[in-house]
Amino acid sequence: MRYAETGYNLEIDLSRGSIERVETDPRETELYLGGLGTNAKILWDRVPPEVEPFSPDNLLIFSTGLLCGTPAPGANRTIVSTISPQTLLMAYSMMGGFWAPELKFAGYDKVIIRGKSPNLVYLWINNDKVEIRDASHLQGKGAIEAAELIKQEINEPKAHVASIGLAGENRVAFASIEQGRSSASRLGVGAVMGDKGLKAIAVRGTKDVNVARPDELLELCNEVLEYIKVRAENPIQGVPPILAGLGSPQEMAVHDEKWHTENFAWGNARHRRKDFWNEEVEKAWTETLENVRERFISCYNCPMKCGATISVPELSVYMMKCYSKLTYTMASMTDLDFGFKIAQLATEHGVDAFSAPQTMAFAVELYEAGILTDEDMPGFPSDAEERFFWLLDRIVRREGIGDILADGTYWAAERIGKGAEEYAHNNIKKHEQLPLKLGMLNPVYFLMYCTGEKANITQIEGQFPQAPFPSREEREEFVKDWIQVPDEKLKQYFVDWELRGDNSIPYYPPIQASCEIVDWMEKMHYIDDATGICAGLSSFPLKPPYHIHNLPRVISSATGIDIDEAELWEITKRNRTLVRAINVRRGMRRQDEKPPEDHWRKRFPELEAKLLDEYYKFKGWNNQGIPTKEILDELDLDYVSEDFLQRGILTDHEGSHYKETSSEKKQK
């Protein structure tokens, strides 16, 4: 018997209209666990670098995490992987909600989509019965609207539906896949779904998911729940309220937005408004939120209630969580109630709440700078709110200027020219970033921005505080019950970290310590991405209930695959390296690994180069960020090293990074 997983994938070829149920190899689970890990293996094996994002040969994989459908609290992530139309690299976007557990209960670990349907269809997975159904009547419908219509049509209110809106149908490069209160929105996974002619996947399952050692797993789950209660009563001291608790940032509950509104940049990631927050704003915004928020809601089997149903008068109800509460408001430089209004429309259209507002703010700036004119944008309104509605509408329809903007700021700037590139200033690997513009370089964050494969800071940071606490006493207090650290020395790094002086940024934490801190944080995310446990209970917040000391036992007792901490690190490293390998094979190199030029005002080129050099070495990558033959072979990824040698990405005599450095010299 297979435990925690079902052992079956669904293979759907939309060009041929074929549906297959395929048994998977249990050995792959041992090597890559599941979720992102096994997705990466499939993409490596089946999507060569020549395949374009909008090719029928590109795969769109909806995967459950390994632990989804077991009682492990918060194990509910769907990991969507494909090749991104925006970065042209591997995209892996995740969503919470209910879809992944439901797919497990239907009897599948993954749905793998290939090909392209000539007309719009949706997939209806009802246990063993799987159908490709016509969706032409759903064309142009909002993502939530379509999901509701599908549930009525199949007469199954308990089905969970992942769907795209107009943006996905029109292949907007930052189109999302929406599902209940969650969405997979980064890197344009919705555009690939639209390109495949797939409007939605509805799923309903009523089968068992088995676990290997029930009593042990249950005990661990109970410990997790107990710890969640402890943390609810003991918020972390010394950090902004938004970072004090567990879960995704509790944006639906928190009224104090001083930290976001004053630390994050407004407009096209330009303006810091350091005295924005005052009593008046707080009062008005509290009222706005209280008025529209109906109820706090959770994902499957999780008590954290990070989301909420939002009901704006005269608009249909939608669901929201996290920072999307503020992105539209801040990008448009308007007010919170506008944010809630446009977010309703944006959710129905299905766009990413980071990239979409940023792209619209970029267009406004270009217009004001005279680079885009009334000729390019006939009828462009003068009111800030109307402008955003106007732009959103054109983008999701790809009408006029919207057709250019729909590719995101990087590609739009390239097409517009006339210096527009200067305005697409907030990207990493062609992907819009959080609007953060800060003073002093932070070495830990520098490494994360450069090397994070997902090109999104929230998907790599966590665990280690973002800034030192002012006094040593406070720091010592913090580390006292810091059971999550993999190694005691990480406590010391934090205790010694000062706001000012020798032990402050940019030279502290020292290079080696920075590498270790980043590596820890990143690994925790890679574990979650394989198990499907929500980052909000694991890799993202400070002092989470899941950590490296209990996760191996959670995984072992659920799956029956016995792994200890060292082995879990090893699997994680394998998955991480494989994701990098896919991107390296698609051309990603050191020159792509950099934060936005203006992310920090004070930059230190020499230190930065050294940080990257050392971190690459630490990871077992050469000076170009390419995993070496040694590390690949050590991780049982010899098929990757063979491919790299064959393609000339690595050469025979540059197995190690030292030799690689000299080969780089040769290139110069």
Partner: protein, 186 residues
């Protein structure tokens, strides 16, 4: 009826729908508890509590599986609370032919909340769905009540007869019974 007073434990699970966040943790753990061996599998479709959940309409109603009924009700109920209209039979606990709620997905056999096997396992201080509901939508209460000794639970037949007697008077029922038994013999 008279007689000795006796203490009886009344066990209640209080449901506060306002606190429900729709997470279905209660379903997950209930289904795990009733797996054989215990906790060895998970399947909310086998749970004896179901969260009727329609977020866009703000419907979040945890319902415990109650008695099995062979026939559906003559008329269905439909509640409107605070201006919000709930689906037909939304609050009904019956495992009833009109719907697939509270039936084993394979066999169709009825499911009923047994209060986690009447909390016989001493390690269970509270029902599991209550323990796993960290949002206080479900709370468990026990209280002792004094009851008449005779009040042994009636069996189904007695319940039915008693309700008929309430309606038509005992004499009429007995007449009818006599007539029925005559005609059966004949």
């Amino acid at each position: 009826m008279s007689g000795e007073k006796k203490k009886k434990m009344i066990k209640t699970i209080k449901i506060d729908v306002d606190n429900c966040n729709g997470c279905r943790a209660c379903e997950a753990i209930c289904s795990a508890f009733h797996a054989t061996p215990k906790y060895s599998s998970n399947n909310p479709a086998r749970s004896r509590i179901r969260v009727v959940r329609d977020p866009l309409k703000d419907v979040f109603v945890p319902v415990f599986a109650g008695e099995y009924t062979a026939a559906e009700c003559m008329a269905r109920d439909k509640y409107v609370i605070d201006g919000r209209q709930y689906d037909e039979c939304a609050f009904c606990r019956a495992s009833c032919p009109s719907r697939d709620l509270f039936k084993e997905p394979d066999s169709g056999l009825p499911l009923k909340c047994d209060l986690c096997e009447d909390l016989e396992d001493p390690s269970l201080e509270e029902p599991l769905c209550v323990q796993w509901c960290l949002s206080d939508a479900l709370t468990y209460e026990e209280r002792e009540e004094e009851v008449e000794e005779e009040e042994e639970p009636l069996d189904e037949l007695e319940i039915g007869l008693e309700s008929l007697a309430d309606r038509y008077g005992l004499e009429k029922i007995m007449d009818t019974l006599a007539r029925m038994s005559e005609s059966k013999k004949g």
